[in-house]
């Protein structure tokens, strides 16, 4: 039994030491003297590429760059809280033009870049027009694009060879192939694609376009058009009949894990996800992955190709010149080349034409990019401000379609969803004129 005296002395000592620790900890918050930039990034291969290169930049310019990275949804959440409070210390950040571009633009959180771009060093002409449009609103460029991704069909070369199947080029062939390779008894499923509410919308988009449907036309939501309803029914039927169980809770991590464990014959999703299935340490089918362009539907071949991520300077940054300097470097040709050599698919044209790089790309990926480019649709979700809520409304229809194999009254469900989206459009001032 510890004596009272020793206990109290011990307690005092402990409290003293801990308070000292606390004081030291508090004082870590003291402001340093050199220019220090705060770069808030996403958990993305691009961040992995840029982090080791930052010391070079620091040496060249004498600045210090602190990088933080977060999962994409948490990133948006954190940035929103900081920017809303109008006291953020963020200087440069990664942003998704399609998801939050309009929202952040509307609230004045991006620093406009038009005035800087003509200068040398930015190599602005290196970006194709469609990609530039992706980061422009009201003719103001608000961010620099970094990566592109497009709708792809991943398939198992070995299974196709064994079943003597050709790679599907139409949606009909896709369904037939899925049917042929679907073998639940042997733990093999024909095809997988995202089915989780909001997450599924982006992957469903190419199916929608290929049937002749679209999200919005002239300020009204047209997700209830007959073509769109056909697309919902097809998607629902495809996944219900030939998909794995639990697909309605699957976003890309689950679908990717399934393909990587060899349980599924085909997977339609964004090209960038190839990383997790061709690495032998991560996938049991690493050497059997085939890449094809997304099959054509009744309305033709209409896969999406989008700019999922870009980098911007915060309007609230107090060190804009330094931030711009960093932005210029981080999106430069050299950095883009390094990234492309590491397997990313960047937005600059020059890196695609570089023969050294083309050699390195996974076979089939470069071709699919080239084939997809000319026919691509530049968006994979409704182009509007209240994207999150719209995605959930549309996602609800997708989930119902999958649950019932396309047999539910999709037309009515779609009509209700379209109504909800219309309300959101009007509220944001994006309704019909």
């Amino acid at each position: 039994m510890i004596s009272k005296k020793r206990l109290s002395r011990g307690m005092f000592l402990t409290i003293f030491i801990l308070s000292l620790m606390a004081i030291i900890a508090f004082s870590i918050g003291a402001a340093p003297k050199q220019v220090t930039l705060r770069f808030v990034a996403a958990n993305h291969p691009y961040t992995d590429v840029i982090k080791p290169l930052i010391p070079e930049f620091e040496k060249k310019t004498g600045m210090k760059v602190n990088v933080e990275n977060y999962e994409e949804n948490q990133l948006t959440q954190k940035l929103t809280v900081e920017f809303t409070s109008r006291a953020s210390t963020v200087d440069v950040f990664m942003t998704r033009p399609l998801q939050e571009g309009r929202l952040f633009y509307k609230n004045g959180w991006y620093h406009k870049l038009n005035q800087y771009l003509p200068a040398a060093g930015w190599d602005w002409a290196d970006y194709p027009k469609s990609i530039v449009e992706a980061v422009t609103l009201n003719r103001e460029v608000y961010a620099i694009p970094i990566v592109t991704e497009w709708k792809t069909l991943f398939y198992r070369k070995d299974l196709f060879a064994a079943a003597n199947l050709k790679v599907p080029t139409t949606l009909e062939e896709l369904e037939a192939a899925a049917k042929k390779l679907h073998n639940p008894e042997k733990d093999m499923y024909g095809i997988v694609s995202r089915g989780q509410r909001g997450a599924a919308v982006t992957q469903f988009s190419s199916y929608l376009y290929s049937f002749g449907g679209d999200f919005i036309k002239d300020g009204k939501c047209v997700i209830d058009s007959p073509e769109a309803v056909e697309a919902f029914k097809y998607y629902g039927r495809l996944l219900h009949d030939y998909g794995p169980p639990g697909v309605t809770n699957m976003s890309w991590p689950q679908a990717q894990a399934l393909f990587a464990s060899g349980k599924v014959a085909m997977w339609t999703d964004a090209s960038v996800l190839i990383a997790g299935i061709i690495d032998p340490g991560k996938s049991v089918v690493a050497d059997q992955v085939g890449v094809a362009i997304f099959p054509a539907g009744p309305a033709g071949a209409r896969p999406f190709q989008v700019v999922p991520w870009s980098v911007a300077v915060a309007a609230q940054s107090r060190q804009k010149d330094a931030a711009l300097e960093f932005l210029k470097w981080a999106t430069s040709k050299q950095v883009a080349k390094t990234a492309q050599l590491n397997g990313l698919t960047m937005a600059r044209t020059s890196v695609w034409n570089d023969p050294e790089i083309v050699k390195q790309l996974y076979p089939g990926l470069a071709e699919s990019a080239n084939l997809t480019g000319p026919i691509a649709v530049p968006y994979d979700r409704p182009l509007m401000t209240a994207v999150g809520e719209a995605r959930d409304a549309i996602g609800e229809v997708i989930v119902k379609a999958i649950e019932t194999g396309g047999q539910a009254d999709i037309a009515s469900l779609a009509k209700i969803a379209a109504g909800k989206v219309d309300v959101l459009l009007v509220r944001a001032g994006e309704g019909p004129n």
Partner: protein
């Protein structure tokens, strides 16, 4: 001495009692579901991604340390460990400094309304604090420090500590302080010199639980931390990337997060249990 029907020990009689064996089997069956997922997490931390997603599940495999290497080297987990520790320790210590006297007062003077007010702090959903706190802390330029994090964790720790200690102090007889006071010492000295030293078990309980809740806190830390002050639960998401989830790394990170909590629990097991049962049981 007569034994209670449920106090029969295990050594009665020399021959194997099948009922005993059956009972032990039952206990094992009860315990396994609770520990199995944790064992699986630990095993997965030593597997490669391909092994983790394999089905049927792989039970026998060659362990790899790669995940832990990634966790500590690529992601700087040592720093996150430090951050989590600083925040947990500081918030716990400060909550003790504030909460012990308050609990004493509420217990001895039956200040019920005050007690209820402090407990109401537990009822607000965490999300309601995020935006207002960020605004508040950024206005006084405190966001980039540990102070904001610590203060937010204290809001969870304080009511917890106060609640546990109120019940603990309620159970301590008043005679000790009364005799001290008769001898002429003031209330506060009686509190400091008499009561606190014998409150060791209660304090350890409160400390351990408060530390655990701070250690595991996710929401507040997400919004109020920057790269310098990032804590472990946020860091676990470092491996949930845009194009892949490195399950092996996630599990290794989970092991890194859970282990200190488990070690702490093992050391203070008796007190943690007591702390959880305080307020539910008299005496």
């Amino acid at each position: 001495m007569k034994k209670r029907w449920d106090q029969v020990g295990w050594n009665e009689g020399k021959r194997i009692k099948w009922k005993e064996l059956g009972w032990y089997l039952l206990v094992i069956m009860i315990t396994i579901p609770f520990i199995f997922p944790l064992i699986w997490i630990i095993a997965a931390a030593f597997k490669t991604q391909a092994q983790i997603v394999a089905s049927p599940p792989i039970w026998i495999f060659e362990p790899t340390l790669n995940n832990f290497k990634s966790v500590f080297m690529e992601q700087d987990f040592a720093r996150f460990l430090w951050n989590s520790s600083v925040v947990a320790v500081a918030s716990t210590v400060l909550s003790l400094l504030l909460g012990l006297p308050a609990a004493y007062s509420i217990s001895r003077y039956k200040q019920q309304t005050l007690g209820v007010f402090i407990l109401v702090a537990r009822l607000m959903p965490g999300i309601s604090f995020l935006m207002p706190w960020y605004i508040l802390f950024s206005k006084i330029r405190m966001v980039d420090t540990f102070s904001a994090l610590i203060a937010s964790h204290m809001l969870v720790a304080l009511p917890l500590i106060v609640w546990i200690m109120i019940n603990y102090f309620d159970g301590l007889p008043r005679e000790l302080e009364e005799s001290a006071r008769v001898d002429g010492c003031s209330i506060q000295t009686a509190f400091l010199r008499i009561l606190l030293p014998i409150s060791g078990p209660g304090i350890i309980t409160a400390t351990t639980l408060s530390f655990l809740f701070s250690w595991n806190n996710f929401m507040f830390s997400l919004v109020l931390s920057t790269h310098r002050t990032k804590t472990l639960p946020i860091a676990i998401y470092n491996f949930v990337s845009y194009a892949e989830v490195s399950w092996g790394n996630v599990m290794a990170a989970a092991v890194v997060i859970i282990t200190p909590a488990i070690i702490l629990t093992m050391i203070f097991q008796r007190y943690v249990i007591k702390g959880l049962t305080v307020g539910a049981v008299k005496g």
